[in-house]
Amino acid sequence: MGCGTLVQMQQIQDDLDRFGRDAEYFDQHRQEFLQRYPEQWVAVYHQQVVGADEDPKRLVEQLERKGIPPGLVFRDYVTDKEDLLIL
C-alpha cells in the first residue's frame, strides 16, 4: 500500500469515526428532535444539526447551499411512529 493510499485510508477512517459520533449524537438527542423536528429528515455533522426538512431532496439542497457535503452527514428521519421492518 502506497503512502498516498495510507493517508487516504486514514482520512476515510477519520470520517467514519466522525460519522459514528454523529450517529451517537443523533440517538442521544432523539427525544429533543421529536419535539423540534417531528416527521422531518435531520442532518447531523460534527455533532451539530446542520439541516432539517420534511423532504429529503430539499434537505440535500439546503446542505449544498451551506457547503456541507450531503454524503458525509449523518441523516435520519425523526418520527415517533413505530414501524415493523421486515425486508
Binding site: 467514519l16 450517529a23 429528515w41 440535500v60 454524503g71 458525509l72 449523518f74 413505530e82 421492518l85 425486508l87
Partner: protein, 148 residues
Amino acid sequence: MIRGYIRADGTRRRPFVKARLTMPSQRIAGDIHFLVDTGADAMLLAPTDALFLRVDLGQLPPGPPTTGVGGMTPTVRADATLIVGPHAFNLTLRILAPATTAQRTALARIPSLLGRDILSEFALFFEERTDRVLLLTPEEVNLLHLPH
C-alpha cells in the same frame, strides 16, 4: 474486527455497521450506516442514501429487480468500492430505483442493507443483551475454537 452498533428506534433495536462507499464512475464518495441483514442476498443502497450521495440513477444501467415482502422493485447497478474498517471490497452495487410514487413513498425510510455478499467475508457476532455487533475475520474466528 469490525465493530458495529445497535440503534434504538422506539422499542426497535437494530444492528448497523458504518462504511464508506465510493462510485468512481460518478465521482461519488459518502458514508452510509448499513442495516446488517443476513437475509439479504446482496448489499443494497436505499433510495434516500442514493439521494444524499447525489447518485444520478438515470445514468446507470438496470440491475435485477429486488424481491421482498413488499413486492418487486427495480434497481440500477454500478461498480463501487465499500470500505469497512480496514477492508475494501470491489463490487457491483445494486441501488433501489423505485418506479412509482407509491414505491418511492414506501421505500423512502428503509435503510441500506449490508447483505451476504459482504457478510460472507466475516463471522457475525450479534448480542443485543450486551449491545455487541462484531464482524470477525476468519483468523479471529479460528482463535475462538467454536464447534463445527
